[in-house]
Amino acid sequence: MLVKINGKSEEVQGATVLDLLKARNIDPHMVAVELNARMLEGDHLATTPVKEGDQLEFLFYMGGGR
């Protein structure tokens, strides 16, 4: 199915948001996930299904400044 991840259209397989993260080798603790403009709770990643046309943002922590 076709979804948008960080602004890019991608053909993905997987049933849940956690599946998508795992397929990209992204540790779920390293990102905040926004699904269709709503922040997802960390413990909902495994139970939130991905649907055709979903828009996902994987937001990585960025902490530097010095």
Partner: protein, 268 residues
């Protein structure tokens, strides 16, 4: 307050702007801005805010200038090595613009001093280099009801967002808590393209001046991410999160606290 002829000349390119004018320049002259960290982000922000004529610039930092800072912390010079960063910054600011009052806070921002400190300013510019301080800035600005201009840089990327407490998404609306220790690299461990500090720090200064002037649309409810490798900006829309532990419907954070300092054991 009236400007002298010299000040009118100094700020003429601002005064010429219809959105600023003499009235706006007076707002800038009366403004009080706290910069957290006299480092990569704080350096360019402080210099441009000083040049702009911000009345009072407070700087909080407890460090001294290290040789490895000079690749990006442009307010400090080689002769400042081992000197206090806030003192070094104050000297450059006053050499650039003697109109500016610089308040030095040679200290770390902690849950004990943050509220009292921030209450003395109109807004805060976050140039901190670690998550505990960034989360503390966010929380303290929320409790003190002061706007916060957040910035961060790492490797080839940077991020800016503006937070109006209670009105727009806060940092915790997106990132509830700091990442687990050791999972996310800091500049010290991962490196950073020095010039990114200039790009992100000056966008922060722009946001701060816009807030002071009440001009334009602040960078609220948006994360502006910059990737220097592609020279591309990307805007991610955010909004107030009803589940936010700080500003959500059922807050669990009701007073300031310090997150544990980071340990230095980054993965990548």
């Amino acid at each position: 307050m009236d400007f002298t002829d010299e000040q009118i000349t100094r700020y003429s390119r601002h005064i010429l702007l219809p959105e600023v004018g003499g009235k706006g320049q007076k707002k800038i002259a009366k403004s009080r801005i706290l910069i957290v960290g006299a480092g990569g982000l704080g350096s360019p922000a402080a210099l441009y805010l000083a040049a702009a004529g911000v009345g009072t610039i407070g700087i909080i930092d407890s460090d001294v200038v290290d040789l490895s800072n000079l690749q990006r912390q442009v307010i400090h010079h080689t002769r400042d090595l081992a000197r206090s960063k806030v003192l070094s910054a104050k000297e450059k600011i006053q050499a650039l613009n003697p109109d500016v009052t610089v308040v030095m806070h040679e200290d770390r921002l902690t849950s004990r001093n943050a509220l009292e400190l921030i209450r003395g300013y109109d807004l805060v510019l976050d140039g901190a280099d670690n998550f505990p301080t960034k989360f503390l800035c966010n929380d303290a600005c929320y409790f003190a009801d002061k706007p916060l201009v957040h910035g961060a840089i790492l490797r080839f990327e940077g991020r800016v967002t503006t937070i109006i407490p209670g009105k727009s998404a806060c940092y915790r609306c997106v990132f509830k808590n700091p990442p687990p220790p050791g999972l996310v690299a800091s500049c010290q461990e991962a490196g950073v393209l020095g010039v990114l500090a200039g790009i992100i720090g000056t966008i922060q200064a722009t946001e701060a001046l816009k807030l002071v002037l009440g001009v334009g649309r602040p960078l609220t409810d948006r994360l502006l991410d910059f990737d220097a490798r592609r020279t591309a900006f990307r805007e991610i829309k955010t909004k107030k999160n009803p589940n936010c532990p700080l500003c959500g419907e059922h807050p669990t954070i009701t007073e300031l606290f310090d997150h544990e300092p980071e340990t230095c054991a980054a993965k990548s």
